[in-house]
């Protein structure tokens, strides 16, 4: 369960002005119900995601997590640049209490990094970083997977491999998808919400949310 309790997020701008990104959001995400959160560019989707996964603290309110929540899939910001891929992997395993041997076997095989596993992250291309981060999140196993836009990275063959592994994990996990693409929500989510003016609007069905979102989108155009 992930419980958002009166979450607000404000950023300081110049001249003492503030931008209110999230405005008093309360909601509980339960295991078993994958939720899609739709929003236009700049609506605060990524901020909400960072607050849900705990990378960034909210200005007000609190987040309670009683399940294991992943970092945004494909996000490689948690990899320390001067450590090698293997050292980063060990560190991540240790903090999540995962079996280092099992994770190593899976990630080595899956991410196809080869000798780069023992090279510092700063020598990696962005695709390699994403592959390592994706492999790690799949190997550790979370109750909630957070997906910011797409999750598939790399070339076509790697994408299909990622897709396959992800579908396997999805069977025992819940997804929170944040996107402006409607097809991803339709494919993965049981419920959907729209983030607008700092508020999170929930709808009974995915289709209702999509309809509302499309209307909002065309109004802006």
């Amino acid at each position: 369960m992930i419980e958002l309790d009166h979450i607000s997020k404000r950023y300081q701008l110049v001249n003492g002005r503030q931008k209110i990104v999230l405005d008093d959001i309360s909601h509980t995400f339960h295991e078993g119900t994958s939720v899609g959160i739709l929003g236009l560019n700049g609506a605060g989707k990524s901020t909400l995601m960072r607050i849900i996964c705990g990378t960034e603290p909210p200005t007000e309110g609190r987040v309670r997590r009683t399940s294991r929540v992943s970092w945004p899939i494909g996000f490689s910001g948690g990899l320390h640049k001067s450590l090698t891929g293997r050292e980063n992997m060990r560190f991540t395993c240790r903090i999540y209490g995962a079996d280092i041997k099992k994770v190593t076997d899976f990630v080595e095989d899956f991410s196809e990094l080869g000798i780069y596993m023992d090279m510092p992250i700063r020598t990696y291309s962005s695709g390699m970083r994403a592959r390592l981060a994706f492999g790690l999140s799949m190997a550790i196993g979370f109750d909630f997977y957070l997906i910011d836009e797409g999750y598939a990275v790399g070339d076509a063959s790697f994408r299909s491999k990622s897709e396959k592994v992800f579908q396997e994990r999805k069977a025992n996990a819940t997804c929170l998808v944040i996107t402006h693409s409607t097809s991803l929500v339709q494919k993965t989510c049981d419920k959907a919400a729209v983030l607008e003016n700092g508020k999170l609007l929930f709808f009974e069905t995915v289709n209702e949310a999509l309809a509302y979102y499309k209307e909002m989108w065309s109004a802006r155009k």
């Binding site: 705990g54 603290p57 209490g97």
Partner: protein, 255 residues
């Protein structure tokens, strides 16, 4: 989800492993360099004193005298330095929700402490092999002295690191302050050699008190400074409380 103390311990352990692997990770000797650096200081001063023919202090060998002085000061000053650079050196790791700046600082202080203890242990072994007499006067006092130093270092380190977020100039000033501490904490001289009209001010320096107390514990008849255990404990506990409070206050300003 596991209970918080288990998660916290896991994080601190992971950070310690990360620290040990990378302090001197790019060199072939790796962590051994940390030990060499630590021991080098003591060897220099030992050499200087031997060459100059300075008389050994009363009741203990010069090696133990220097070991207590430098070891204690290093634990204190390195703890502060490591706490102050903890966040900037590990920013990426803070993106994991279970990793907090306090964990970074605790793990770094533990590593500093373990390194100094290992170096000290090696010195004691070398000393015993060379037939240097080593006395143990007060074992309880010794244990308390060994624990008090890193806790004080952690407390002051957290305060400095938090204040440096608000006032970045402190990053320049604190090392200068530590340089002064180096000369007024009795690392390579005994507190009894300080004139009493200066000593009455220097007495408030907790590191001077801790060092002198440590020497008393490891000697026979060393003329000890009139240290005050309640003063040291109050100082340590209040620095830890203030440090945790400040850290909490600046945490939201970090990112």
């Amino acid at each position: 989800m596991d209970p918080a103390p288990i998660v916290q311990w896991r994080v601190i352990y992971a950070l310690m492993m990360r620290e040990v692997h990378t302090i001197y990770g790019t060199t072939r000797l790796g962590y051994l360099w940390a030990l060499v650096h630590t021991m080098w200081h003591i060897c220099i001063f030992w050499g200087i004193r031997t060459v100059m023919g300075v008389r050994a202090p009363h009741g203990m060998h010069i090696l133990i005298f220097l070991l207590v002085g430098f070891g204690t000061f290093h634990v204190f000053s390195k703890s502060i330095n490591k706490c102050m650079s903890a966040v900037s050196a590990n920013k990426a790791l803070l993106t994991f929700p279970q990793v907090t700046p306090v964990d970074l600082m605790i793990s770094r202080v533990i590593i500093v402490w373990c390194t100094e203890m290992t170096a000290g242990f090696l010195f004691v072994c070398i000393g015993l092999l060379c037939g240097i007499p080593i006395y143990l006067n007060d074992i309880g006092g010794l244990l308390a002295f060994l624990l008090l130093t890193p806790l004080l270092g952690l407390g002051v380190g957290m305060i400095c690191a938090s204040l440096a977020v608000l006032f970045p100039t402190l990053e320049q000033i604190i090392p200068m302050g530590l340089r002064i501490m180096f000369f007024v904490s009795g690392l390579f001289f005994s507190a009894t050699r300080i004139p009493s009209d200066i000593l009455k001010y220097l007495w408030y320096n907790p590191i001077l008190q801790i060092i002198e107390w440590g020497r008393y514990c490891l000697s026979r008849g060393y003329p000890v400074l009139n240290y005050s255990l309640p003063y040291l404990i109050v100082l340590t506990v209040s620095s830890l409380c203030l440090g945790l409070l400040f850290e909490r206050y600046v945490r939201r300003r970090l990112k």
